[in-house]
């Protein structure tokens, strides 16, 4: 094979490897070092360095260095004149032995301690889209020959690729940085949203002097049940919000009806039953960061048997989130004092769940709540939010544990089984 052909094949191989390295490598330093190896190896150049330009500090930072003296600096500051000169030169190779002593680049070489004998022969600025990306310094060829026209074309071509690689890496780093900032901003906004919702829930409950804290507790019960059912953290956050806001429609109901210290009559009941639909109207125009919150508020009084309100939906027609809020809402209603009755004990609550699962409550949701209670009572959880909300004297473990186990065993085969499904 003729020498020029061999040379061409070797150079093409280096160019192909360089392209692959630049597109594949995730590690910036490795990418630059491998690129320098490929450039040096393509032409048999004995030494060289690649510097990245950091515009903010005006610093040329050497990322990869091969064969240069130990005294070679890790970075150098570039003045405006030198920067402008490098930009003007572009990708053209500056041959140091032909450099005018008064050149604007002289301070750069002095700073690099590129003195006679260090072997650096070429300086090639890396410029991409009129932006100074960095600089490549190259030493003598192992053949002892000078750089010919063809060599300089190969050098320019490879350095252009390295410059594009560094530029792309910078853009990706900026995109990643923005993504991190956006994520932080999004998390902050979600935290603000959650705090606002909680404050709003407290405002809803203030209207009803007998059920203060109800919305917050329903939010927490819903969260516990959903987590027990294996929902994702994002979904769990969403169901907690739905719990906090499920009674927002009560804001449009007469305060006297909400606060009536007796069982309300049919007319008042009809007025009170407007609140899920009213809640939906209030929540629908809001762009919530979680799915279906207005629907969960609207359907939290629906029943599997179709005897609920406002739409009389049955089993599968009711969103699972609404079924969870429904159980959480009823659980809190039964376990707190009301104006016309004191709260039930937990045994009675479990009896109520057993009686009404499949007609009013979803079996899978009831199982999840029972399991969450069991784990807390048995001390198998790090925290005990249910016990905290119910009060430590409320639960008698020796009575409750068998009841919960029985109910779970009973519901297990049919789970959400309902004659209405």
């Amino acid at each position: 094979m003729e020498l020029p052909t061999r040379k061409l094949i070797h150079t093409f191989g280096a160019l192909a490897d360089l392209g692959q390295e630049i597109s594949d490598s995730g590690n910036f330093e490795e990418m630059v070092l491998t690129s320098l190896h490929l450039l040096l190896g393509a032409l048999g150049i004995r030494r060289g360095a690649v510097a990245e330009f950091e515009a903010v500090d005006g610093l040329l930072k050497f990322v990869a260095v091969r064969g240069l003296p130990d005294a070679f600096p890790s970075s150098i500051t570039v003045g405006e004149d030198t920067r402008a000169a490098l930009l003007r030169i572009g990708l053209a190779a500056v041959q140091l032995d032909k450099l005018d002593p008064g050149s604007e680049l002289q301070p750069l070489f002095t700073a690099c301690r590129i003195l006679p004998g260090t072997g650096v022969q070429l300086c090639v600025p890396m410029v991409v889209r009129s932006e100074l990306i960095g600089l490549v310094l190259l030493g003598e060829k192992a053949t002892g020959e000078g750089f010919g026209e063809e060599d300089l074309d190969v050098v320019s071509s490879m350095i252009r690729q390295i410059g594009v690689g560094i530029h792309t890496h910078r853009l990706l780093a900026q995109v990643e940085q923005r993504a991190v900032e956006n994520r932080r901003l999004y998390d902050d906004l979600r935290a603000i949203y959650r705090d606002t919702v909680r404050a709003f829930a407290a405002a809803i409950d203030i209207k009803d002097k007998y059920t203060q804290g109800h919305s917050e507790r329903v939010g927490k019960y819903s969260e516990i049940i959903a987590r027990q059912m294996g929902w994702t953290e994002e979904e769990v956050e969403g169901i907690a919000i739905a719990g906090y806001l499920h009674d927002v429609g009560k804001l449009v109901v007469e305060r006297d009806i909400i606060n009536a210290p007796y069982r309300i009559d049919a007319k008042q009941s009809k007025e009170l039953n407007r609140h899920p639909a009213a809640g939906y109207e209030i929540l629908s125009p809001i762009n919530h960061p979680y799915a279906d919150i207005p629907l969960m508020a609207k359907y939290h009084h629906e029943r599997l048997d179709g005897r609920g309100y406002p739409d009389g939906l049955t089993a599968d027609q009711i969103p699972l989130g609404a079924k969870i809020v429904s159980v959480a809402d009823s659980f809190d209603a039964m376990t707190t004092d009301r104006p016309y009755r004191t709260r039930r004990n937990l045994e009675q609550v479990i009896v109520d769940f057993r009686k009404n699962t499949g007609t009013q409550f979803d079996g899978e949701v009831i199982i999840a709540l029972c399991r969450a209670l069991l784990y807390e009572i048995k001390g198998e959880t790090k925290t005990r939010p249910l016990m905290k909300m119910l009060g430590k004297d409320y639960i008698e473990p020796e009575k409750i544990i068998p009841l919960l186990n029985e109910l779970i065993a009973e519901l297990q085969p049919r789970k959400s089984a309902s004659v209405f499904q």
Partner: protein
Amino acid sequence: MGELSALDVRSRCVGTTAVVYAGDYLNKLSGDRIERECKRQLDLGCRNLVIDFRDTELVNSIGVSILLGVIDVAERNGAQVIFSDVNSQTVQLFEMLGLTRHVALARDEQEALASLIEQGTLTPATGH
């Protein structure tokens, strides 16, 4: 003769000569392990380096750059470098890129060691 292996690169010492086996490391960034091993041997007092290419089919640009690094380190330490068992295609590449101006070539490891004995830079059957 002493056998040793360090930094995952196979090498052995024969008197003041280190024989380093290039293997298939050369053509990737991990090839700098060969350079480090050569440097380590020079720091230990070796005055000659034999790089053996018996298991190296092809040398690419990364490999050439690493070998230029080895030559540089050796020259700074006043050591001689011999490449042994290099296939003809690789010899042509080394000639084209000027590496053969800085190293001697030997048919195999034995020939490399024999030439060093002949030059008087290696005493036979000694180790360190």
